[in-house]
Symmetry: C2
Subunit: 286 residues, 2 copies
């Protein structure tokens, strides 16, 4: 059996650390080539460093967060590695996967598809949560996998991950995330397309607001959204729903902080403004 | 006669300030539409602020520095407005202007063309140095035009500008600039294309290394380049030539600092790493 091989596509020195772009054949994505970016802070040359995963939003690739997020300075200061996966499989060749910007290519929603049409390739949950750390571990990169957290932009608040009994992340944060996807158009479209059971199947696995209701262990969650964000205004994000569910379930401000940022929109200008806040938040836990 | 009209295309809140993208009909560029980005720091809501102009490199637009430079945090902290012009006229319709990535569209070299083929439109020197400040002034934006500096990436060190007797800039800095363009392929190609007198015409106006030789007034110049930059290795940048000429002309380290940054390349990852250094450098003078 062939060993997984990471192909190094490029390296860039940045803030004293190194950004590496890799390609490999992803088993989780049905054998398709998949790219990711990995930032190793300067501290990684002498010791293992914790890992913070960044999930980019609709239409994005592994590059958007790396190029525009403004994460490297704060991450270098805190000695944190950053992993930027792609947002979907590429080149699966499934009919219609390139038709819409909010479904299919560039919009995998970080779930595992159960609709047979997509289930061979669209398994971004497994790819992000299990396959990439495993691949990095096999490659013997200087990462302490016992210290992992996750953050991201827009595409669903990655809340399966706050169940640290099942998943490995110590803290979760997001910029303008889709907090209650079963109740918004983006989420409904994605779930009805990717999942055999559609929205009702998603409710138990992929909806942050539903999941937090029955989650009793302590969590570490930070959310920022902008009041000038058109997707927020259109009801795609619904952070209030998540906040209420979290409070009702007994998660107070020390566990779940949801910040409304006056006048900011959905762009990377917003993200970069609060990049250091999020890195510093995770640094407390990893 | 019609008044110049700035059309506001978009705004984004960033680091407490505002990024505005404008379009207007540029007289300097022969009546073509031209875009620029303007960052106003939070301080601009209560007082006039100094202006720092950023000149992007080959193939770029007004967006590259704004999206990837990492300038807004440091500029907001110092209360400095940032102006991002485009790198060339767009849509002049001149035969061959789109044939190469290093000449024509996206590669105006911030000069005023004298070759009749280009001279109606390719007047980026006038556009950047005179027209844009004038247009911003007419629009009554909260900028103190007595306090201006300039920095940029790659395309020629904007050294006409260090002659503050003629130009308005108090300080000049650059990331991996073309320091001696009459002696490198990029510069020679540009000058022979845009200027009637070719390289010899450029020598007196557009070559930083030549110009500094006879420049006796004090200057404030900071240059960073990376030793991993392939364009540096290929002899396109020639920072050593500029440094030697500056020292020979009596400009010591307090006036001209040229820093070699180990392992960094020509990308925005390099630029973003030293973004705060450059903003803070200019803040001392404006």
């Amino acid at each position: 059996m062939a060993t997984q091989v990471l192909e190094l596509l490029s390296t860039n020195k940045v803030f004293g650390g190194e950004l590496r772009k890799y390609k490999f054949k992803s088993a989780a994505l049905g054998g398709l080539d998949s790219n990711f970016n990995l930032f190793l802070p300067p501290q990684a040359t002498s010791s293992k460093v914790p890992l913070l995963v960044y999930l980019s939003g609709l239409t994005c690739t592994e590059d958007n967060g790396a190029q525009k997020g403004g994460f490297f300075g704060p991450a270098a200061a805190k000695g944190i590695a950053l992993l930027f996966p792609d947002t979907s499989p590429r080149g699966a060749g499934i009919e219609g996967e390139d038709a819409d910007w909010d479904f299919g290519t560039g919009a995998g929603f970080y779930l595992n598809a159960t609709n047979p049409k997509f289930s061979k390739h669209y398994n971004m949950l497994t790819h992000v949560t299990f396959e990439l750390p495993q691949v990095l571990g096999v490659a013997d990169l200087p990462i302490d996998f016992s210290r992992q957290s996750i953050f991201g932009h827009s595409i669903r608040l990655y809340t399966s991950s706050f169940d640290s009994v099942v998943f490995q992340y110590r803290s979760v944060s997001a910029f303008s995330p889709i907090c209650n996807p079963i109740n918004c158009p983006w989420g409904q479209k994605a779930f009805n397309g990717y999942l055999q059971g559609g929205v009702s199947e998603a409710k138990e696995q992929y909806d942050a607001t539903e999941l937090i209701k029955s989650h009793t262990n302590p969590v570490n969650i930070l959310i920022d959204y902008g009041t000038g964000d058109n997707f927020y205004k259109q009801g795609q994000l619904l952070p209030e729903n998540f906040l209420k569910a979290a409070r009702d379930a007994g998660h107070d401000e020390s566990q779940v902080e949801v910040r409304s940022q006056e006048g900011y929109d959905h762009s990377y200008y917003f993200i970069s403004t609060f990049a250091a806040d999020h890195i510093n938040f995770h640094a407390k836990f990893i």
